[in-house]
């Protein structure tokens, strides 16, 4: 297991480096000097330090290294300092936001939990919905349940998230007035009543992404289960007199679960992209909304850092999914 973890980790690092290079080259290819042009609101001495930290005017390979240093050296040092009370990072200029003039990663850290909560909950609920749907669909393929579930799943993954969100707002918030349409960012969860309010305002953003996840996962799981149903060990299980339910759950589902992990890993970029849109739609104060704000304000350090953080999240979650895959499937672990 440790071996697998190390192998996957060794693959994640070059991936991250490549992604950071893509982001850097994109900024590089843009005409002018997007990072060097700072708004007048930034004080001159901060401006000077930022220019030095980013290496404005130096050749691009050096600037790429400085760019990497920001993400992989300066930031971790600052976080270490905060944890341990040391001052390794003193004197190292951090990336600051042009809008708030606060270090970008402090702002990001503030908003990360909301995004992770929405994405994580939607995956959890998506799996919980997809499991029974896939089992019932695989039990009678092309039966009435499978057909209905199939059509709903097609709706679920072809409709863009902003549309399902809009329809939910229209039906649940405007028409029936059951749920609030705008997320109250000042709400603090202190007791049961405020927890209930928090859950109510999270319901719609989570539901939008859950629908997409459930649709995607249930279809893949159904296909994997149908593949497994043809296997010899299933025939043996039936032949020894096991009930159909036990065959499906104990012999087919367990072998199909590992494919679910792959689906989750492959869907991650789409779901984080969907999170950006749902946050914008419901005005949730997560990373996605921050990204749109930063883009509209031409706050490039923030945009750059956020794009990198999204990449980091995707790579980390894929790594987790890979490890889970290894835990579920011994062939991967030892292969």
């Amino acid at each position: 297991m440790l071996n697998l973890a190390l192998r996957r980790l060794a693959m994640a690092v070059p991936t991250l480096l490549c992604i950071s290079l893509v982001i850097f080259l994109l900024l590089e290819a843009a005409p002018g000097d997007p990072l060097g042009e700072m708004p007048l609101t930034v004080p001159p001495e901060v401006k000077e330090r930022m220019r030095a930290a980013l290496g404005v005017g130096e050749p691009w390979p050096l600037r790429y290294l400085l760019f990497l240093k920001q993400f992989f050296w300066v930031e971790p040092l600052h976080w270490l300092d905060r944890l341990l009370g040391t001052d390794f990072g003193a004197g190292q200029q951090r990336l600051i936001s042009y809008q708030s003039r606060a270090p970008v990663f402090d702002v990001i850290a503030e908003r990360l939990p909301q995004t992770l909560a929405v994405v994580g909950l939607s995956y959890l609920l998506g799996v919980l919905v997809a499991l029974p749907v896939a089992i019932l669909s695989a039990r009678h393929p092309q039966g009435w349940f499978d057909r209905i579930a199939g059509s709903l799943a097609m709706l679920g993954y072809s409709l863009p998230t902003f549309l399902t969100g809009l329809v939910l707002i229209w039906v649940l918030a405007i028409w029936l007035k059951w749920l609030p349409s705008v997320y109250d960012t000042t709400l603090r969860v202190t007791d049961w009543a405020s927890l209930l309010r928090q859950l109510r305002q999270m319901a719609m953003p989570v539901a939008v992404l859950t629908l997409y996840n459930a649709a995607q996962i249930s279809r893949y799981l159904r296909a994997a289960m149908l593949d497994n149903l043809r296997q010899d060990h299933v025939r043996t299980a039936r032949a020894k007199g096991l009930g159909e339910g036990a065959v499906l759950c104990r012999h087919v589902l367990r072998n199909s679960l590992s494919s679910m992990v792959t689906v989750i890993a492959l869907g991650l970029p789409t779901v984080f992209g969907g999170a950006i849109i749902t946050e914008q739609l419901f005005k949730v104060n997560g990373l996605g909304q921050l990204l749109i704000l930063a883009i509209n304000a031409h706050d490039l350090p923030m945009v750059m850092a956020l794009t990198f953080v999204f990449a980091l999240l995707i790579v980390l979650c894929t790594l987790l999914a890979d490890l889970l895959y290894g835990m579920l499937d011994p062939r991967i672990r030892h292969g």
Binding site: I19, M154, L159, F162, G273, I292, A311, I314
Partner: protein, 290 residues
């Protein structure tokens, strides 16, 4: 010609695909021929007729500046379809090239597939947004505001959506390479270029057609998403996502104005997807025996 007739015959019994095709045909007629019959310009402002409901003068109502919704929907639908049509060749070209080379030349396989996996792991929407912000103004200066945005959006979506085609094609080519006729062609000394063009490409056409159709749906969704976030085409340019974005503020009073472009996006995407799924069923040799 015989090929095409048989494809049509195989597609006929797919009910979903036929409905999808009809819906698409109606949409194309609506957005292409509509403006010939409905002569109000989508940008014509009539401030006295603002926020109107359904009427004979404005069958689908007007927006907050009194612009006719039907004309705007026609213009928006035309742009969405145009973006999808323009993205498709880029997706097919890039994905086809990578997939063919990776599948056929074993030496390139590792590198190209790593590249594909890297692109699959990219945070696509943030990158698209970054590309649009960085290059929008310079391109608009060279090509004019709508033209620059169009080129930029098409290129950006194309550059980030070729991976599915590449992966499918690689698998198909790998399987094809084991077949006897390829071996025979190689035995008589066919060069790699001629081999790919004459023997490999015609035999992998059908999965590519399916992937291209499904890719068009994704392109429509992505363009609408960008416009919806306010980062697609310039503000006074009606696209379906933009209409949705503009209607969001007054969703409480005028829900119809948001639902109409939303419905149009949904119908288009679902129709394209239905055609794609139908094509998959019709072209997959395994599905025939069922």
């Amino acid at each position: 010609m015989a090929e095409r007739a048989s494809l049509w015959q195989r597609l006929r019994p797919q009910r979903g695909a036929m409905i999808g095709l009809w819906v698409l045909a109606l949409l194309v007629v609506f957005v292409l021929l509509g403006p010939w019959l409905w002569r109000i310009a989508p940008t014509h402002i009539d401030i006295r007729a603002r926020n109107q409901g359904l009427s004979w003068a404005h069958p689908l109502g007007t927006d907050q500046l009194g612009r006719d919704m039907m004309a705007r929907l026609m213009a928006g639908g035309r742009i969405s379809l145009a973006v999808a049509m323009a993205v498709m060749p880029i997706t097919l070209g890039l994905g086809g090239l990578v997939g063919l080379l990776a599948g056929y030349f074993r030496r390139l396989d590792g590198v190209l597939m790593r590249l594909t996996e890297l692109f699959l792991a990219l945070p696509l929407l943030p990158l698209l947004l970054l590309m649009v912000t960085l290059f929008r103004e310079p391109l608009a200066r060279h090509l004019g505001p709508p033209g620059g945005s169009f080129v930029l959006i098409v290129l950006a979506i194309g550059l980030t959506s070729w991976m599915a085609v590449a992966r499918i094609l690689r698998g198909e080519v790998l399987a094809l390479k084991e077949r006897g006729f390829i071996e025979a062609a190689r035995a008589i000394g066919t060069r790699p270029g001629a081999m790919l063009w004459r023997h490999v490409l015609p035999n992998v056409a059908s999965p590519v057609v399916v992937a291209a159709t499904l890719g068009m749906a994704t392109a429509i969704t992505t363009e609408s998403a960008l416009s919806f976030l306010g980062l697609g085409f310039p503000p006074d340019y009606p696209t379906l996502g933009r209409l949705l974005h503009d209607a969001m503020d007054q969703m409480q009073q005028y829900p119809l104005r948001a639902l109409l472009p939303g419905l149009m996006i949904a119908v288009t995407v679902l129709a394209v997807n239905a055609v794609g799924e139908g094509l998959r069923e019709a072209l997959d040799p395994r599905s025939g025996s069922r």
